[in-house]
Subunit: 149 residues, 2 copies
């Protein structure tokens, strides 16, 4: 066993969903691949036990919603990007494929409205029933200024 | 029980670490709050079972590393941002506090070098031994063009 695996790295890290996506999109086949590709707004329902975490979230905020792609395949390590066989086989860590060892989704959204423990957010391609595991504000998203590249 | 909790939302979503951070920073108190605040480059060691997922990751790529803040407190729902008591108490979903129900960290980095199943990446504030649970390429990070706001 290598140093990397024998030391204190924990296993079995357990996520507890803090909320759920309520979307008009109910099937993975009907979802755009990215939110900016025509995805709808949705309701993000935060469960009552986690609702205190929403304090000061407001309309107009830019957030990153982290979801759990509950229909993903976790034994996939390489894919043809965008499901196009003409794209070269690529490691999932170089793609946004929902199929990956830990099927976490990152969704940049804008808060359209706040209604108690529900946020109207979008655009977001996650399908109805998708668990939400975290919500964060957008900070600097890239280490370099995009306008400089 | 509400509709939101009684339906098919899974519980007990289990993350399996795909790698680990090897950093010169060994204590949380010594870590900058964000990577762009003077954090170092680190080695990101991907475990052999997940290394196929790195195929085509290359020097210069901009990635988002998702970590598990293994020293975080999961029972925290509101904080004073940046640990400054003069900042108003704020829901953790409106902050980047590592203390939150699911202590996931998002780290935008640049790949400085690739050495087998190890990536030299930075800047990143995660401390030595922090589990890595996912790696994704940077796409559009915000739903709006930052230059338009």
């Amino acid at each position: 066993m290598s140093d990397a695996t024998k030391d204190s790295t924990p296993t079995g890290l357990e996520l507890r969903p803090v909320g759920v996506i309520r979307s008009e999109i109910t099937a993975r086949a009907d979802a755009p691949k990215q939110g900016f590709e025509g995805a709808p707004d949705v309701w993000l329902e935060v469960f009552p036990w986690a609702a205190d975490g929403l304090h000061l979230v407001a309309e107009g905020d830019e957030l990153i919603v982290i979801t759990w792609f509950h229909q993903a395949h976790r034994d996939v390590f390489q894919v043809h990007p965008r499901s196009n066989p003409r794209n070269p086989l690529t490691g999932v860590f170089a793609t946004r494929s929902p199929d990956r060892p830990n099927p976490l989704g990152l969704h940049p959204v804008v808060v359209r409205a706040v209604d108690g423990n529900r946020l109207r957010v979008g655009p977001i391609e996650a399908i109805d029933g998708t668990p939400v595991v975290d919500i964060k504000p957008v900070l600097s998203c890239t280490p370099r200024d995009p306008s400089a590249s």
